[in-house]
């Protein structure tokens, strides 16, 4: 018998694990997943999407957390006509017990297609494909088992952070605890959309920025330190003995020429005031070099992808802040930022766009921050200055 999905079948071949195999596993026992295969095969034939725009569905008391989705091929694939997504807020650092994961699986076996994204790009557990009448029961069971929905729409999106002190020696603050605390504190902002557009918070506990906070988060928290990084000279000697070319590959690649290597004595010296804390030497000599002891974070603002006015990377707002519970200073700063954005943002304008339209100067005034050189690459070159 010829297969119904010849194009998708091609994607079962090859060494990388196949999502088509996963779809078929669910299709074997779930009618929604079976019809999803048909819808997607049709897209592979027609080279266009077969999902219609939007549709408002949700759970009682929330304005977001569920994405409504309808297919434009209901006659051919009736079981996939409604294919809504539930966003479930993940635990910090994406750590799980198998018990918790199996609970989610059981809930999704009962109320949905059995297909998931582990995880979505923002960080949530994505439960893909359910009917309108299953949304509330699914949520009720999730909530009974300790899970809540994430954010969607013009709201605070599910905050996420890197693995941090749980399993990283470079963590300059507790990214897991900070993200958990902020998520709990701002439940209302997460579940009841009230802003011009979405707002993302991401925390990376060192400048390697493993969760891409600087590119993706409107409010970006990146760990750093204020004192000198720490060097263990005997470990430096061991690296040298093993043949690492410390002169060229470590000192030679320091972007600020803050490192000097004495080959004869196998000694690495640092001018701490020149170090820009880029993590190169630390990441390459993990046993010999570590971040300093006076740790905290840099806060940056405005990272986003292209829609509407082009992409932005987050800009430095607070060069150094201590990050300790209950995180009062960070929360106050967030509230000031949201107040200003609420007042001044246009519909579907991310905060970077509001700032770039109205000027960083005015934004800083509104949130009570003093201008400092760390905020810019260089001062202006034009003479068109307002006083």
């Amino acid at each position: 018998m010829p297969s119904n999905t010849p194009l998708l079948d091609e994607l079962e071949k090859g060494p990388w694990p196949s999502f088509v195999k996963e779809m078929k596993r669910s299709a074997g026992k779930n009618a929604k997943a079976k019809d999803l295969l048909g819808v997607v095969e049709q897209s592979y034939k027609d080279k266009i999407t077969h999902w219609k725009h939007g549709g408002i569905v949700g759970v009682t008391g929330y304005g977001g957390g569920v994405i409504g989705r309808y297919s434009d091929l209901p006659e051919n694939f009736p079981n996939a006509e409604q294919f809504h997504t539930i966003r479930v807020n993940h635990p910090s650092g994406w750590f799980y017990t198998t018990k918790a994961l199996r609970t989610i699986c059981d809930i999704w076996e009962k109320h949905g297609s059995g297909l998931t994204n582990m995880h979505g790009a923002t960080g949530d557990i994505i439960l893909l494909g359910t009917d309108t009448d299953q949304i509330q029961p699914a949520f009720n069971t999730l909530s009974e088992n300790g899970f809540d929905l994430g954010g969607s729409g013009s709201a605070l999106r599910t905050p996420s952070g890197c693995v941090g002190p749980a399993r990283c020696e470079w963590a300059c603050f507790d990214s897991l605890d900070l993200i958990y605390d902020l998520t709990q504190t701002f439940q209302d902002e997460l579940h009841r959309p009230r802003w011009p557009y979405k707002f993302k918070i991401k925390a990376s506990a060192c400048p390697n920025d493993c969760v891409a906070a600087i590119a993706r988060a409107d409010f970006t928290i990146i760990g750093t330190w204020r004192d000198s990084l720490r060097i263990d000279q005997s470990a430096v000697g061991e690296y040298a003995a093993k043949g690492l070319d410390i002169k060229n590959l470590i000192a030679g690649k320091c972007p600020s020429q803050a490192l000097d290597y004495d080959e004869k004595n196998r000694k690495l010296t640092l001018k701490p005031e020149d170090c820009v804390r880029c993590m190169h030497c630390i990441s390459k000599m993990t046993r010999a070099i570590r971040p300093g002891k006076e740790t905290g974070a840099t806060i940056l603002i405005g990272g986003k992808a292209p829609i509407l006015r082009g992409a932005f990377l987050s800009w430095v707002l607070v060069p150094f802040i201590k990050v300790d519970p209950p995180y009062a200073e960070i929360k106050q700063l967030l509230e000031k930022i949201w107040d200003w954005w609420d007042e001044n943002g246009r519909n579907r304008e991310r905060i970077a766009e509001t700032i770039s339209r109205l000027g960083l100067k005015d934004f800083l005034k509104a949130i009570d921050l003093r201008p400092i050189p760390q905020m810019v690459y260089h001062p202006r070159s034009n003479p068109f200055v307002f006083f």
Binding site: K47, W94, I104, K284, I307
Partner: protein, 354 residues
Amino acid sequence: MPRTDIGPPDYKTMLPETIVNNYGKWKYHEILKPGVMKHVSETGGELFTVRAGSPRLVSIDFIRDVCDVADKYCDGHLRFTSRFNIELMTPDKENVDGIISDLNKLGLPVGGLGDCISNIVHTQGWIHCHSAATDASGLVKSIMDELYEYFTEFRLHAKLRIAVACCINMCGAVHCSDLAVVGIHTKPPKVNHEKLASTCEIPSVIASCPTGAIRRHSDKNINSVEVKNERCMYCGNCYTVCPSMPLSDPDGDGLAIYVGGKVSNMRKPPMFSRLAVPFIPNNPPRWPEVTDILKKIVEIYARDSKKYERLGEWIQRIGWERFFSLTSIPFTEQHIDDFTHATETYRATTQFKW
């Protein structure tokens, strides 16, 4: 009534014992072999992590399979990374090979750590998105099949991050990835005049366009809008605001490739990805033109880069003019920016290469 606003489960209830005991006390880590690293704590504690790739779009049975491995070797704990990898952790070195072989039995590749290609961060595509110009899962599968050994072996001088977005919304840091594949529309929306007024507010539709391409219909008897085609940049913002302005088009939709971005602050500051190939038509199920060009770029980069040099750093060193000649990618009018702040990209020096 269900409880609302309980927030996510407390991460502390999810951590394996070794992590609880060494939380914030890690001293250093080493990568032992592809996909395996060891963390050592100030207390002397050790933790071995095995990282495996995943297709991200997975069934609950897949999750249960991985849970079985975690139950067998990891005291019932596991984690995921921000790029959809699975990580299994154990304090016992003896468990590592068992974990690897069980993961391989499930068809999962072990790798993605250190100087190699990590899993591809991506979006929904034709599986679930209403504005997708292409599929994401199928592209990722096709690309990773071609570059598989770059995930499971150390073949590069630095980390290489690939991202796929199925439209220019670019969910997922696509705009700052070493290699980025982006679904694009190249035709203006087709306005459904019959439905528009009943489904959408005309002033918000007009206001939604970043380039001012939308205006009221010139025929007063038609209660709808018109698009000035030459001003449209196919962003799909009007469609997000109004379902009666679809952009999807089997021939007009396709892919662009951007290169040289990164988010880490290591050595050079974060960089945006820059346009390398403006348009490749959709060619499912395998998109061979896309995988060919990506593979070519990766091979040339692997050969010509210096140790520790990210793709964007390599291009900065050799210069874009050399990048285009090395890869034989044609330079076209689309490569010259004409959007906001475009002039910042025009060269203002006599220093360049032939």
